[in-house]
């Protein structure tokens, strides 16, 4: 059983990283967007592996089902060209800096995880959805409400921007 979990973990990791790499390297916009979707799927799979199916499904419902569609709309409506033709050749210095910017936080996180490894139990028990709901509306009520305020602000801002451009 454990072996299967490792195989699944490897598969999802490849999905995550491969999708992400595809998304940032490919010139075609919609292909990059597909790469992003694949990567998000990998993340959902990891949630499943962590015995959090609710979060995993939410990941699919929200990110793959809704956000991806939104991105597509943005691509179509803004009339972006099929290929990102106006990509300027990035200089070597910029590339090095970009790699560093990704690498430094990653290595910092990795060091922290290795040094202060989290005590794990062999079998994580899934949290019941009812408990999750109670936690969100009880002790984490404020955070929950704040998130909705942020979302509302984002929506209002989008509408405002949309109307401004039309005039």
């Amino acid at each position: 059983m454990e072996k299967m979990a490792y195989i699944a973990f490897g598969f999802y990791t490849i999905l995550c990283l491969g999708g992400a790499l595809w998304a940032v390297t490919i010139p075609s916009l919609v292909r990059a967007f597909t790469g992003l979707v694949i990567s998000l799927f990998g993340v959902a799979g990891l949630y499943f592996l962590l015995a959090a199916p609710f979060i995993g499904l939410m990941q699919i419902l929200i990110y793959v089902g809704a956000v991806a569609v939104l991105i597509f709309f943005a691509i179509v409506i803004t009339g972006a060209s099929r290929e990102a033709r106006n990509r300027s050749q990035t200089s070597k210095k910029k590339r090095v800096l970009a790699v560093l910017a990704g690498f430094v936080p990653a290595s910092f996180l990795a060091m922290t995880v290795i040094k202060y490894s989290i005590v794990t139990t062999n079998n994580a028990s899934p949290v019941a959805v009812a408990d999750l709901g109670r936690a969100l509306l009880g002790p984490y009520g404020l955070a929950f409400e704040l998130i909705s305020v942020v979302l509302f602000a984002a929506m209002a801002g989008a509408i405002l921007l949309g109307f401004k451009r039309r005039q």
Binding site: M1, M4, A5, A8, S28, V30, R31, T34, V37, F48, L49, A51, P53, F54, G56, L57, M58, I60, L61, V64, G65, A66, A68, V69, F72, F73, V76, A128, V129, A130
Partner: protein
């Protein structure tokens, strides 16, 4: 998520194969049924030549479809182009997993089955997008963007009405929701939330791209919309997915509102099947009797009528739950 016993895995495998058989057979029957019904509703012949009452018609259609050449437009994005029909069809199997066809006849007891179905039916939108974009064709792209705006518009009231049922029964598990309803029609959720069922049914029609909401296809003005460029089984898979989606939304409607496998006298999967096929019959009935709506009418119907009505419904459910 990983099953702890291989027996469970084996059961899932058998279930998947059974679903595959069911889906194929179902598509054959539904296509035949639709054409027969169209014939009767509009007083025209319909299939009659192949086999008794044209029963073998769809089998021949299927063979014809498979015999055709797979063609992709030269300037199309080939990978995305072929990914789309597969993506339209693949999630279908997952959606059947948590649906309880009978007291014991279900793929997997899943605590959050409702969320699973909502999450995976959303993938068909993605497939439509990729098909429309990958075809490198203006009609396809227009069809795809129409499909997306339609799906986004109708997903909102659909989710809100489903939420009404979830609030009332306090569970996201299909088996529990079904178990809470009684055998007789007045004990079903539809009696408590008729408005909810009404909205759910309209939205599920729209989500399946069924007439009168089949605008993404729109043969007359968009020359078949997002699947214009698909030949052979590329088109076949989209077609398959449409008919299977009809079964899924009808099953969900049956489980949530119509008491699932409960029925007068003897409970069992036969009641479930009867209700599902009755809902599908109503869908076909609507297809051949209602005129297609205009696109602005379609969006207005969702944003100005169905969403406010769904909100009223959920308010009513909240009051109902508290009493």
């Amino acid at each position: 998520m990983i099953p702890t016993i291989p027996a469970e895995l084996l059961r899932l495998l058998i279930f998947t194969v059974a679903i595959l058989a069911f889906v194929s057979l179902n598509a054959l029957i539904l296509v035949w049924l639709e054409r027969k019904l169209a014939g009767h509703f509009q007083v025209r012949p319909g299939p009659f030549e192949v086999g008794p009452h044209g029963l073998l018609q769809t089998l021949c259609d299927g063979l014809k479809l498979m015999g055709k050449q797979l063609v992709a437009p030269a300037a199309a994005d080939k990978r995305l182009f072929w990914l789309a029909p597969i993506l339209a069809f693949a999630p279908v199997f997952l959606c059947f997993l948590p649906i309880p066809f009978g007291p014991t006849l279900l793929g997997m007891e899943f605590e959050i089955g409702v969320v699973l179905i909502l999450a995976f039916t959303g993938l068909s939108v993605l497939a439509t997008i990729l098909a429309g974009w990958g075809s490198n064709n203006k009609f396809s792209l227009l069809g795809a963007s129409r499909a997306v705006s339609q799906a986004v518009a109708y997903e909102v009231p659909l989710l809100i009405t489903v939420l009404g049922i979830v609030m009332y029964s306090g569970s996201l598990n299909f088996s529990e929701i079904v178990a809470m309803q009684g055998s007789w029609p007045w004990q079903w959720n539809i009696m408590l939330q008729p408005l909810g069922f009404f909205i759910f049914f309209i939205c599920s029609l729209a989500e399946c791209n069924r007439a009168p909401f089949d605008l993404p296809e729109a043969e007359s003005e968009l020359t078949a919309g997002f699947h214009t460029e698909y030949s052979s089984m590329g088109f076949g898979l989209f077609f398959f997915a449409e008919y299977t989606n009809m079964v899924i939304v009808s099953s969900v409607g049956t489980a949530l509102f119509l008491g699932g496998w409960h029925g007068p006298f003897v409970d069992g999967w036969w009641w479930f099947a009867a209700k599902v096929y009755f809902l599908i019959f109503v869908m076909m009935w609507m297809r051949w009797t209602f005129p297609r709506v205009r696109f602005d009418q379609l969006l207005n119907l969702s944003w100005k009528w169905l969403i406010p009505l769904a909100l009223i419904n959920i308010f009513y459910v909240a009051v109902l739950v508290k009493i």
